[in-house]
Symmetry: C2
Subunit: 227 residues, 2 copies
């Protein structure tokens, strides 16, 4: 057996859409290394703790969110020997999609936590600690791809939402405007994407809009098309 001195961690890319923009939850590191720098939330896996359990625990600690029921998926594992100055640390990155929620709370290892616009971060590879820019890049690309062929955009929405609220999610994540009329038709005609609940709302102004819940289909046929 080869049990080496090695740290195993998870890092979280927690995405939301606020004010029409894709945002990532970052913490400012309170301890070395990279003290004072912005980084993805994350932490070490405890003995006998499953990887996804670690990720859900970290998510709750960093955001105060009840981790039950929200979307969490593994993105990739990063294990370059020199990625952490403390020694060999291998990190499993998870992607979480959350609806727009109250401001995050600072945790134990973090001086502060805040939402940061994803495009700004992606444009500057040096703003994040460790190899977190690469992790973020991979996770955002995963999220963009997932919106095409899965109904996961609804994970960014509250339980009941309108079609145009769903459309703003796509526009924020893909960074391009979509035709509201064609979008409406496509979403409502794709089996299992959204289910009407029979009520309406005028919270977006104008004519009352139908409210929908997330449907049950695991994949979209046909997929949504990006630019």
């Amino acid at each position: 057996m080869d049990f080496q001195p090695l740290g195993l961690a998870t890092d979280l890319v927690i995405l939301t859409v606020r004010d029409g923009a894709l945002q990532v939850l970052l913490i400012r590191r309170g301890i070395a290394p990279y003290k004072g720098r912005w980084a993805l939330p994350g932490g070490f896996v405890r003995p006998a703790e499953d990887l996804e359990t670690t990720a859900r625990r970290e998510l709750t600690e960093e955001t105060g969110l009840a981790a039950a029921g929200l979307h969490l998926e593994q993105v990739a594992t990063y294990g370059a020997p020199d990625r952490d100055p403390r020694g060999r640390v291998v990190s499993v990155a998870y992607l979480a999609l959350v609806p727009d929620l109250p401001a995050p709370v600072a945790g134990t290892d973090a001086e502060s936590a805040r939402w940061v616009a994803a495009p700004d971060l992606l444009a500057d590879p040096a703003r994040l600690a460790f190899d977190h820019h690469r992790i973020l890049t991979d996770a955002v690309e995963r999220a963009r791809a997932k919106l095409e062929y899965s109904p996961l955009a609804a994970a960014f929405c509250p339980p009941e939402f309108t079609i145009s609220e769903l459309r703003t999610i796509y526009e924020a994540v893909w960074g391009a405007p979509l035709d509201p009329r064609n979008f409406h038709r496509k979403v409502t005609k794709t089996p299992g994407f959204v289910d009407p609940i029979g009520a309406t709302t005028t919270r977006d102004g104008g004519r009352p809009a139908q409210l929908f819940r997330r449907g049950t289909a695991p994949t979209l046929h046909p997929p949504m098309t990006r630019g």
Copy 2:
């Protein structure tokens, strides 16, 4: 810091298409645990060794293949606390796509190595050691999805191949027949999928077929469509 007693390994799902069927390279374990059982090839990450380097090293050791240039990608990481009876072992699974090649050689920890038809393995969750059935399931699904939107099917082919050889790859991986005429048109009209080299072959019988090399496009527009 939390450096725990923990093993870090990579497991390899090495796929090829032989005799019109998708096949996986398995080894028969020569040591405990699961001695004598069939398993995916893999091994522990060495100190200061990158994860992908480990995967390429294992691939060469198990198959005798020159690992340079062939397709290798990370699938997922498996870390359930009880997945290995020896203790906590976290394994990063990699997917490799290789052309049909000479028979594999047995390695150090393996009594023997052989190709096994993937559908048989997928149908029986108990034939493989550890959680390797789940790893195999995830990897094969990844391969199937990749064929849709990437030109990776060519990674199963020799450097120069005909369109119908490429078609047999799709048919083997997807498990469904495709129309040879429409397939030909679609492949040759998708920019960057395949490049004609200007020579022909009659090795498949009938009228001479154009030979192609893999193109440079990273993704296919439009994608190939599964059933």
